[in-house]
Symmetry: C2
DNA sequence: ACCTGAACACCGTTCAAGT
DNA sequence: ACCTGAACACCGTTCAAGT
């Protein structure tokens, strides 16, 4: 079982979700396709378990210094740790927290992410919504970061800047009376860094949360 | 072409992404599979165009009363309109804004979503990040809303409350010393409404944004 | 310019058969 | 209890051939 998940994660890391097929997995394990079905009842469960296996390796930053005096800072640190894990493994975003029945590690990470909210002056409902919001920012931005990468870039045929520039050029050619906003942000888009984009989105949510908790 | 996209959207609406196959589409159109490849060069492009086709039907709430005196309120209205559109058609979330080359309607909607930020006191970069953050909240929460629905529920075999209750029960059985946060929010989770969750996440981002813009 | 559908190389999943 | 791999019913995509 451990070997199956390890090989599955390896395949996903090497070439993304499409690379994980029962045949490829069986070949890597040196067995037949049927064998895998003894450990896992279908592909969804395979992906759920592989995702949870990978999430198990996400370092909990709160491990060393259990908690700072600022819960918001702890939330930020956890969110960034999760984001970094997903950036390294874009295939994670599609299956994270999909089924906590099978995803014990994901549930533990969810707990870690939520604990700092217990030190904020919020209702249970507000805490639940806050953590959902943060998770959604992390998974949402990390997901379109993974989706954004077209085959041309992975090939190395075209680099990311050139890819963005192509869009930027097309956007610049739009009528500026009809597309004032797109014109306004096209330069930002052309040179944008995904991590900055994520951090900015996270900061908006966190400052909204700080306001809601009446802290600072 | 129009007919192809119409039929594709119909298939997606009826049974989700897995239902859209070239064979099913050809059958519905009364032609051969090869025909579709004359209009579209592969499945990704088919999904991009179908998504954009559907996005074209999203009502721009700013149409009637072009803008209120509160840009934040206009942002909220646009975000909610987009969320509602995606809730009705969960398959949208995976392809929205993936390729604006082909997605003219999506770009127009992105523009509409961004325009209110022009009336806020922000830098271009802040405007870009704000709209990205809002888009990410909308798509992120709407996406796991679509993913959350397992076959058992679509069948009608089990209703949503019972499904959530099953998880809640499992969560309640966890050690409360190790999982204090999960224990704290389990009741909220069990009865949660996805729309409320989205609205709460949106509100956190918007209030962070209002703070950043120094308005109100 | 537009359509056709057989053919190819893949999938996930099952199952009778083995140890 | 665990493994095997041929077989089945599907995919997306191509292409020689038609109008």
């Amino acid at each position: 079982m451990e070997a199956v998940l390890g090989a599955a994660v390896a395949l996903l890391d090497e070439a993304g979700a499409p690379a994980l097929t029962f045949r490829a997995l069986a070949a890597r394990l040196g067995t037949g396709v049927g064998t895998i079905y003894w450990y896992v009842s279908n592909k969804d469960e395979l992906l759920d378990r592989a995702t949870d296996h990978a999430i198990g390796g996400v370092p909990a930053p709160a491990e060393g210094q259990p908690q700072s005096d600022d819960p918001i800072a702890d939330l930020r640190a956890m969110a960034i740790a999760l984001f970094d894990a997903i950036v390294d493994r874009p295939w994670l975003s599609a299956y994270f927290m999909r089924n906590t029945d099978v995803q014990g590690n994901s549930l533990r990470l969810y707990e870690k992410l939520g604990q700092p909210t217990l030190r904020l002056d919020l209702t249970p409902r507000q805490r639940f919504h806050a953590v959902s919001a943060i998770t959604s920012v992390v998974v949402g931005t990390a997901a379109d970061l993974g989706a954004e990468i077209p085959p041309e870039i992975l090939d190395g045929t075209m680099d990311r800047d050139a890819y963005l520039a192509r869009f930027a050029e097309q956007w610049r050619s739009l009528d500026s009376a009809e597309f004032p906003f797109v014109q306004e942000i096209v330069d930002e888009f052309a040179g944008h860094d995904d991590r900055d984009q994520f951090l900015a989105a996270l900061e908006l949510t966190l400052s909204g949360l700080r306001l809601q908790a009446g802290t600072g």
